[in-house]
């Protein structure tokens, strides 16, 4: 940190835009799907063709209400406004958004460390299309033309605006990580930041602790937790250095340049913005009644904090490493696999380790069914499968969805009976007296020699741990 900056505290408020996981767009029946061929998911409404009219998607409203409920917001009678400005990726040259009557207000989010972050509002709005900049740089500056794809235009967004309650880049990162977990848990979002389904703007200012809020800059284009943290750190240092040098911070919107690792002032258009908000005449007010609110609240699954607590309780006293694993499986919505296995008697620690390491590493772990994974972990816990074998079966189960027991049987992964293993050990010890002698003298490496021999004889079906135990017993 720059000299003189050390005394200053960073103040951060975040605006998180999350795309909602609906089947169709906010105001039309086009697919809400990432990665399709350009301009294939379009209709008169989301192209803003003359004469077209918007009709609100019920599921988008319910997901917005679910987010609000999960964040402890009041769900209120709301309405839509038009935000007027020209931009080529916006088909109507206005965005339909909620303005002075958002559906969710006054909530809060508790960080894992207990910090409470205020949520000012979480409102519904439509996404824009996507522009690709063609020409020398491939970026907006220096491009000589842009190509627009409207597949994303009209995709439902909820914009979640936090109070300026965060005091560090790390805190901001923790907030987004926790929020992401909540959005995934509610089923509102897939949480895929790399696909842009979570996009963050950060309002950053610095001040002497206890002083009034300083002048803030808004940083746009933060599309990963890493760039969020780096951008806030850079911006706070920049402002601190400015002040330390006797300068002042000018309120402006800045752009995070990932490559250069710095924020730069955004080039805005010549005329000052004046969005001329007014009530959207094509949409009636959105007034959820109590029954609707209650239905959404009742359908809300447990949130990450509660699920972390439940897992930790099953683990008894968890190591710091296990706490991290608990946080990550919950964040990725994989804790249900741990719970399902533990419910069937698998030690929680083993289930957690396997889900956090092996299951989480799979292509699409969410697609697995709890029953299959639980069965597999049961077999490993019961010694029917070695760790290596379990890993193989998991991969095949993930690929084919077949019953793990059947997969193990087909591979001939049934466990070698203890009797057979004892007989085999005695025979091998007799065949290799020199190695046995060195092992008895304490050369542990020789244990691996015998394990290798056993594995060769049993074509890998034996349990390595059982072999080592057998050797130790004969020392």
């Amino acid at each position: 940190m720059t000299s003189g900056a050390a005394a200053l505290e960073t103040v951060v408020g975040l605006e998180v835009h999350t795309e909602l996981k609906t089947a169709t767009k906010l105001f039309c029946g086009c697919p809400n799907r990432f990665g399709d061929a350009p301009n294939t998911n379009v209709c008169p409404v989301c192209l803003g063709l003359p004469g077209s009219l918007p009709v609100l998607n019920r599921q988008a409203v319910e997901l917005a209400m679910a987010i609000g409920t999960a964040l402890g917001c009041a769900i209120r009678p709301s309405s839509f406004h038009r935000k007027n400005y020209f931009y080529p990726d916006m088909p109507k040259d206005y965005q339909i958004s909620q303005y002075d009557e958002p559906i969710n207000v006054d909530g809060h989010l508790a960080l894992p460390d207990g910090t409470l972050v205020g949520i000012e509002r979480a409102h519904l709005e439509e996404d824009t299309g996507k522009s690709t900049h063609v020409g020398s740089s491939g970026r907006i500056h220096g491009a000589d033309r842009s190509l627009v794809d409207y597949n994303r235009a009209g995709v439902p967004l909820v914009e979640i605006v936090s109070a300026p309650d965060l005091r560090s880049a790390a805190g901001a990162r923790a907030y987004v990580a926790e929020l992401r977990g909540i959005l995934v848990a509610t089923g509102a979002s897939d949480g895929r930041m790399e696909e842009g389904s979570l996009r963050i703007d950060a309002n950053v200012s610095v001040r002497a602790p206890g002083a009034a809020l300083g002048t803030r800059c808004e940083i746009k284009n933060l599309n990963s937790l890493r760039s969020l943290q780096r951008a806030i750190e850079f911006e706070a240092d920049r402002q601190a250095a400015l002040l330390a040098g006797g300068g002042t911070v000018v309120q402006e919107t800045r752009h995070w340049d990932e490559e250069a690792g710095c924020t730069v002032p955004m080039r805005s258009k010549e005329e000052a913005y004046d969005y001329r908000y007014f009530p959207e005449p094509d949409l009636l007010p959105l007034v959820p009644d109590d029954a609707w609110r209650d239905r959404v609240a009742a359908a809300l699954p447990p949130m990450p904090a509660a699920r972390r607590a439940a897992l930790l309780e099953r683990l008894g006293d968890a190591t710091p490493a296990q706490r991290d694993q608990v946080a990550s499986v919950v964040a990725d919505d994989l804790d249900r696999f741990v719970t399902a296995a533990a419910d069937r008697g698998v030690p929680a620690a083993l289930a957690l380790a396997r889900v956090a390491n092996e299951v989480a590493a799979l292509e699409d772990p969410g697609a697995l069914d709890e029953h299959g994974v639980a069965t597999l972990l049961e077999m490993e816990a019961g010694g029917e499968l070695s760790a290596t074998q379990a890993k193989t079966v998991l991969a095949e189960h993930a690929a084919s969805g077949e019953d793990p027991r059947e997969l193990a049987r087909r591979r001939g992964f049934e466990r070698v009976a203890d009797g057979t293993l004892d007989a085999l050990l005695d025979q091998l010890i007799a065949q290799h007296p020199a190695e046995w002698a060195r092992y008895r003298e304490g050369d542990e490496k020789l244990a691996q020699f015998f394990v290798g021999q056993v594995m060769r004889e049993t074509s890998g079906k034996a349990d390595g741990k059982a072999v080592v135990a057998g050797l130790a017993a004969r020392r």
Binding site: C30, P31, L47, L56, F86, M90, S146, V148, L284, V287
Partner: protein, 99 residues
């Protein structure tokens, strides 16, 4: 008097993405001022207690089910576009990011 100025008209023309000649600027300033002067009968009223009407009949929340509807044929859509490249709408260089 609405006291609409030439500068006001130049500002709204810019907001509305319209270019005006000096002659047009003078003409429109006069014409718009006349309409706004007539509108002073409305602007001058004290209506604090009266609620605004945005919709003649707000019959209540209107939503549709989250079900897919057939999209337009891309070729039919792009056939109407002034310029197309790689199945996208092509526009001249953009100055400045979206707000």
């Amino acid at each position: 008097m609405s006291s609409l100025t030439r500068a006001d008209v130049a500002h709204v023309a810019a907001l509305a993405r319209l270019a005006l000649s000096d002659e047009e600027l003078d003409r429109y300033t006069g014409q718009l001022a006349a309409v706004l002067d007539h509108a002073q009968d409305v602007a001058a009223l004290d209506l604090g207690s009266t609620a605004p009407t945005a919709h003649p009949f707000a019959v209540g929340t209107v939503v549709r089910d989250d079900v897919l509807v057939a999209c337009l044929d891309r070729d039919e859509v792009l056939a109407q576009a002034p310029a197309v490249e790689d199945d996208r709408f092509c526009v001249p260089r953009i100055i400045g990011e979206a707000p």
